[in-house]
Subunit: 709 residues, 2 copies
């Protein structure tokens, strides 16, 4: 009796202990818990307390400690954004009297004159029911804290408020970048500025500005004006605009690393300056996508003289420590066709093109160093001849990066972060720079992995669509870069991403508002509702499928359904989750059944409404079979649902019909994927399992068991 | 809100009268066919021919005839907009070789140096299957033609094209304005610019820029800097910004008429310069809405010295021939309290305040004339002492305007065009400047009625919501101003308005995109779908109900459902039309029955989904009863539908219950009207008529027969 009682008490104590332990863990941001806030990226440390601070028209800010104009502008932006976010009229004045302020922003000192990877970005926030206090070592820390502060503002039945909270935050990686390619398709200054706003919101801190390519040279060059005059179709940034953007970025605590890709990817340079080339000109701006032969001649001294003058000018224009030379995808064809170059390689004992490129890189690195810059380049530039202060950007992956770090070089990861691959947010979210071989490095080596960059290559985006291809998925990437490694609950990420997605629209990002507009263009005079039903459950094809399906050029209109639809279908994800929940609810499969039936019924019926609209629009003709397939798939899903409900065997004939439906073309003309297929597949499998238990071999003959275990 | 409160009843009575009159007219004018194009405003003459001109990436423009930079910029904008509209990549180059161009734009000569009401705005367009030709006497005519040209672009199963067509077009009225009040709520330059784009799209040609008010003085004044420094909270246009906006407007063929309201509505002037006032200061910027006592002292010479200097500066800044002095709503209280002013009136034999104001106006008119300006003012300024070149803007209506014209003065109509009354597009559309007494004028007198202005008074709009209050309704007004008087088919107007509505978003007007954003703000973390179901069928209360429901100031947040919803519910209009069609389909009422049932069912069920969301948002708490009433109304509609189908008598108890539901509160807290009520009423009446035929007196006791004939 006594023992039993003690044992019971022990369990009670243990469970109470566990309970509190789990609360503490949740507060510290444990891996699987759903958090109670909307913050993205999740801060390093956060603990909620009792109480809340009302946000109303009395809201005022005071700036204490170190003062600079950038901080005042930041405070004004905070007021403006808070006003937009809440719809409350707020005065744009920064209080001088600390006692009157609701939010005190205390900055301890100036940051770096030129923001570097060493800039202190940490901050703390404390909110109680009467006041909020944001403190940081540097203005950049303040900027990071302001973004968190704005995300804390919540609406409830009493008003807008900020919950009482203590936050101590700092980034996991110092290099958290977004590459924007403005060459394949031209992106004017307003696109860059609004995307800088988006970056700041999720605490990204490097704009990797891809400024020259085969398809365009995008900066005014005073030393060699034919670069922008002949290489850009008139679509380039003036140096005045560049400076404006740099100021804009600095105000947001964002470094700007320019990339001028060389010696390959340089067709647009060679239009005005064919004397730099490895093969005789004349050259024309490249209109197609891919890897092309034209490249600079690394054996000619005049090329280095040219580049010295060029880099001197550009190095002055861009203040950042780093300069990106690209250095990727040189196919060497023009080198090997040029007898002088072949002779040069022989004379210098170079075994292959990689040696020649290494020679070029070393020369460029010396010039850059001379102009005060450290060099960045893609995996290909990595070579033991180069000094340790270069940074290697890896499209190859963590194993490649681990090698770089092991040899004492720094690196950043872009493998797994290509936004133009049109993968899900969760796919990017699960890629960690310190996974795979990088996980085995020692602490010192790991510290050389500086972070990563999401890449927005611009073959298939225009100013109209680029926002929707970057956002909101880049926010998931940004959280991977900023938050502790153990923050990785995908469900919670998606919950918070939805909120971030909305906030981005308040900033002026057009990723949501361009969707109905583009659908309206496609339907002509018709209503968009039925097209939206279809568009909501499809996604563009992935990876490099598009250039292998149609022949695209820079001039090809990107105005089809594939361009309008979202990179990730929220509706399909919801459907998948609902089906999973239903199938877990054995044996009766009741959970979500009605809503699943409702959705499937809508999809089945939609084609008959949509069909005449598709027929009347030359932009939509191509998706007539897509719409039909969705209807047929929905019908199959409904039938599977019926079988599941009745516990009745589906006949063999049913299976035969559906089988072909699920075998999707690999490169459909319309370049879209139907995202409800996996869930419908699961429904069919579940219905099939009724059959399988009776007649396994028959079903196996259709490959079900193997294909979808 | 010029005639805000004093004349509310008058306006209401006039509007009701006008409404019935125009219903009669609309029926009479049913000769106008539903057109086969989307043009808005409808051109004076249009005839379609066989064939179509493809619009694709080969599209090029050539400018022939008279050349000026404004034309080149217009051509570039055309290319840019065509590119956005179609999603086709188009070169921004203007061809030099006419034979290579698809569109030839021929301008015959320069227009006026300062665009006036006499500017020739006519143009012709001819399109055949290989070429398009746009010709105009002046660059402004070219601008008008370009807008028509862009609206001709159509999507079909073969591509984008322009139908073969011949158009000869010119405006009906030379003064087609939009008043934007930037004083009650501050509207920054970007708001003005995007609304100028919207105006140009529908061929409006006057921005009436309401720049001073009790609540704000909005232009930098170099002679008297305390005007903007102390009268604006820092929210004013610098002269540099004003010039930018004037250039922008000129590029669009839009005149800009500045209004500085005087001698009343001048509190914001008096904050910095109390010596101008009729009563001792100090003064503060007015934060409330209404008509206030402060006004200038017309008896002091110093006031005229001040205004002479002021008007000299402002007259130089604004090049237009006309200058608007407001001149409305002087309540005279401060005049009559001031013994000096009372004495002055006595000495000069003035009978009342109107005489004193006429004296003031005459003095101001002389100063303006001296600075090269003609005077514009509201009805109140009309006085036989003034020269014939003044323009009277009438909030009173066509009868008042007819008097003005009969006496040899010019006038423009604004009565019936107050966008802040939140009436339907069709209401404004049916108001014609040459109706009522104006219809009886002779041709010469009629010609003095120069046109009209839609008015966007800014008590209840912010930069976030103003676009949705102006657009698309102002396009219906614009058509009334431009198109022949017999263009008045409402059904066709709405069809084309939907297309104009979409086009406006391409221009950057935010009236559509701000809707989901504002709903998202209201719901916090929830999805907006169920709120949208409710929001789609309600409208803000009309006329001056809002200021009589709550006490509003300049600082009151405009972030509630009443601010987010559209001024006109398209969904409710569709529902009304469907119900009308059904009820015309006697005796079985089958037309649209299923979709009507579907919609009613959705509305009935929506409350249970929406309720928890409304409870969790302090901004939505107030609409809980609204949502419940919609559910109950939908239920009543469904029951009526059942009675209609069964041909069964509704019991008396049913009627009693519904009666109270249809009696809506006149000033509901939530300031919204349920727009499906009229259609539901009709359903109930129809169900009731089954009863009536058997028991007429019983139903008459409920007033049905009388109230809804």
């Amino acid at each position: 009796m006594v023992k039993a009682f003690n044992f019971f008490r022990l369990i009670l104590v243990l469970s109470i202990g566990l309970f509190f332990l789990s609360i503490i863990m949740a507060v510290q941001g444990s891996s699987t818990e759903v958090s109670r806030h909307n913050l993205m990226p999740v801060p390093a440390k956060i603990s909620f307390e009792q109480g809340k601070l009302p946000v109303n028209s009395e809201f005022r800010i005071v700036l204490t400690g170190y003062q600079e104009p950038r901080l005042k502008r930041a405070a004004r932006r905070l007021i403006q954004r808070l006003s937009i976010q809440t719809g409350i009229y707020l005065l744009y004045e920064v209080e001088k009297d600390a006692s009157k302020a609701i939010l005190e922003i205390n900055c301890q000192g100036p940051g770096e004159k030129i923001q570097s990877i060493k800039e202190d970005e940490s901050y703390t926030i404390e909110v109680n029911s009467s006041r909020a206090y944001l403190s940081a070592t540097t203005p950049v820390g303040v900027l990071r804290g302001i973004e968190t502060f704005l995300q804390l503002v919540t609406l409830d039945s009493e008003g807008f408020h900020i919950p009482a909270v203590k936050i101590q935050d700092k980034p996991r990686f110092p290099w958290r970048g977004l590459l924007i390619d403005v060459c394949r398709h031209w992106m004017p200054a307003e696109v860059i500025k609004r995307n800088l706003d988006g970056m700041a919101m999720c605490k990204l801190n490097v704009l990797h500005w891809h400024l020259s390519e085969d398809q365009g040279f995008r900066v005014e060059c005073k030393s060699f004006p034919k670069l922008h005059e002949m290489g850009s179709d008139g679509n380039y940034f003036t140096q005045h605009q560049v400076r404006e953007i740099l100021d804009y970025a600095r105000d947001l605590g964002i470094r700007v690393v320019p990339e001028f890709d060389m010696p390959g990817h340089t067709t647009s340079w060679l239009v005005g300056y064919p004397e730099l080339a490895s093969a005789p000109g004349p050259y024309q701006i490249q209109r197609f996508w891919g890897v092309f032969d034209p490249c600079m001649d690394p054996t000619r001294e005049k090329v280095y003289t040219f580049l010295d003058t060029f880099l001197e000018e550009i190095a002055r224009l861009f203040p950042d420590d780093y300069f990106h030379i690209g250095g990727d995808e040189v196919n060497g064809k023009h080198w090997n066709k040029n007898p002088d170059i072949v002779a040069f390689k022989r004379e210098h004992g170079m075994e292959d093109d990689h040696d020649l490129q290494a020679y070029f890189n070393k020369r460029i690195q010396a010039i850059l160093s001379n102009h005060g810059k450290k060099m960045v380049g893609w995996d290909e530039i990595f070579h033991p001849d180069l000094p340790k202060d270069i940074v290697v950007q890896s499209w190859r992956g963590q194993d490649s990066l681990a090698k770089v770090a092991a040899e004492g070089y720094s690196g950043i990861l872009s493998h797994g972060y290509y936004l133009d691959h049109i993968l899900s947010a969760s796919r990017h979210y699960q890629v960690d720079p310190l996974d795979r071989d990088a996980a085995k490095l020692n602490a010192e080596q790991k510290a050389r992995i500086l972070g990563g960059e999401a890449c927005m290559w611009a073959e298939f985006v225009t100013p109209e669509t680029i926002d929707s291809r970057i956002w909101p998925r880049a926010v998931a990437f940004a959280e991977r870069m900023w938050s502790p490694q153990n923050v990785k609950c995908i469900k919670d990420m998606y919950r918070r991403l939805e909120k971030a997605d909305r906030n981005l629209e308040w900033l002026g990002i057009t990723h949501r508002s361009n969707y109905p507009k583009m659908l309206e263009r496609l339907v002509g005079n018709h209503p968009i509702d039925s097209l939206k039903v279809l568009a909501d459950i499809v996604e563009p094809v992935k990876f490099y499928t598009r250039p292998h399906t149609h022949e695209y050029t820079q001039m090809t209109p990107l105005n089809r359904l594939v361009d309008a639809v979202r990179p990730e279908s929220n509706k399909a994800r919801q459907f998948r989750n609902m089906v999973d929940e239903m199938l877990a609810d054995t044996p009766n499969y009741m959970t979500n059944k009605e809503i699943i039936r409702e959705w499937l019924t809508e999809w089945r019926g939609n084609n008959s409404i949509l069909r005449p609209i598709l027929e009347e629009s030359f932009l939509l003709n191509e998706v007539i079979p897509l719409s039909e397939d969705v209807a047929a798939l929905a019908e199959a899903g409904l039938q599977a649902l019926d079988y599941l409900g009745s516990n009745q065997r589906p006949p063999q004939s049913w299976l035969n019909g559906i089988s072909s439906l699920l075998d999707r073309p690999e490169k459909p003309e319309y370049e879209l994927e139907i995202m409800i297929i996996p869930a419908i597949r699961k429904l069919i499998e579940a219905a099939l399992s009724l059959l399988v238990s009776h007649n396994f071999e028959d079903s196996d003959a259709h490959g079900w068991g193997v294909e979808y275990p």
